[in-house]
């Protein structure tokens, strides 16, 4: 093996290692989904998604979990607990509702919302407890 080929080999190994480290680093630091900048996977009325979960939770889980969902409905309640804003959407006469946990950036907007107002909100669905839960929510309209 000549001196030249040895140097070429060492350099290529170094390059491969660097690329590997770079890929690993970018993968490891892959950012979270930015809900504000992403278009929704599903746009839906609040009643429809609540009914879907009440009827068949397992099927609804498959359909909605980890999706960016844009829901439209009426505000039943707004609250702030430990500095975290929550908007509850639904119809006053039904049992089920949607709890939208606002993202950190949107938190302040809670003060501009009123009970009874129509709202469109976008967030990531994490499941169904007594309500459908959306997290990292951003107010659309």
């Amino acid at each position: 093996m000549t001196r030249r080929t040895r140097i070429v080999m060492i350099i290529s190994i170094l390059i491969v290692m660097l690329v590997g480290a770079f890929v690993y680093y970018t993968l490891y630091n892959k950012p979270h989904i930015d809900v504000a900048k992403s278009s929704p996977n599903i746009s839906i009325a609040s009643n429809t998604i609540v009914n879907d979960f009440e009827e068949d939770e397992n099927r609804a889980n498959v359909k909605y979990l980890e999706q960016i969902i844009e829901v439209t409905g009426t505000i039943i309640e707004t609250s702030i607990t430990n500095g975290k804003g929550v908007v509850v959407i639904g119809a006053a006469d039904t049992f089920g509702s949607i709890m939208c946990h606002l993202s950190h950036e949107e938190n302040e907007k809670i003060w501009t919302l009123n009970k009874g107002q129509q709202i469109t909100i976008k967030g990531i669905c994490t499941g169904y407890l007594m309500d459908v839960i959306l997290v990292k929510c951003v107010i659309v309209d």
Partner: protein, 181 residues
């Protein structure tokens, strides 16, 4: 309808015998913390549902696995897909009793909580100390306990075995308010 729901509805629909006895939170907090030589991993969940019956001390908790938020999205992905398999097991639950809750006076005190915890489809009995703060308008329950990952059939691949602790610390802060239907 899953058993936990039947239980929850049962809790909520039973008639009140001694005035207000059901306390609830939909925004309870729980976190887990894994410390290893390579890295520390923490995840927070602010969407915990917990219901207490103050006349018996019974407590029922329901947690969505997908609501655990990690600093790195890759960790969150691995947690959901490889470890707790949250598509197959979307919830963790706890059903148990805060011993002697009905006899407590208002104020802060230490209690023992005993019951069954289900994670990743595996149920284990646990007993832990917790701090209860009882006032006229609220019952808060705070504490932490260790969870051995292997006890719940969660397998950690050999490649990352140094990144994840065998025993993770679970912390909870549940601030219950009277439940008004």
């Amino acid at each position: 309808m899953k058993p936990i729901h039947i239980l929850l509805y049962f809790f909520l629909s039973t008639t009140f015998t001694f005035g207000q006895s059901k306390y609830l939170t939909k925004q309870g907090y729980t976190s887990f913390f894994s410390s290893s030589p390579v890295e520390d991993i923490k995840a927070d969940n602010h969407q915990v549902l917990s219901i207490i019956d103050s006349s018996t001390g019974a407590i029922a908790i329901s947690i969505l696995m997908k609501s655990f938020m990690f600093e790195k999205s890759l960790m969150q992905e691995h947690f959901n897909e490889n470890y707790v398999e949250s598509d197959k097991f979307p919830k963790a639950t706890f059903k148990g009793e805060i011993q002697g809750l009905q006899d407590l006076n208002t104020g802060q005190q230490e209690v023992t909580i005993k019951g069954n915890i289900t994670i990743h489809g595996v149920t284990q009995t646990i007993e832990t100390k917790a701090t209860v703060n009882k006032t006229d308008e609220a019952i808060s329950v705070n504490g932490s306990f260790p969870v051995k990952v292997a006890d719940f059939g969660i397998k950690i691949p050999a490649v990352v075995v140094n990144n994840i602790a065998e025993v993770v610390e679970v912390t909870f802060e549940l601030d219950h308010k009277p439940y008004i239907k």
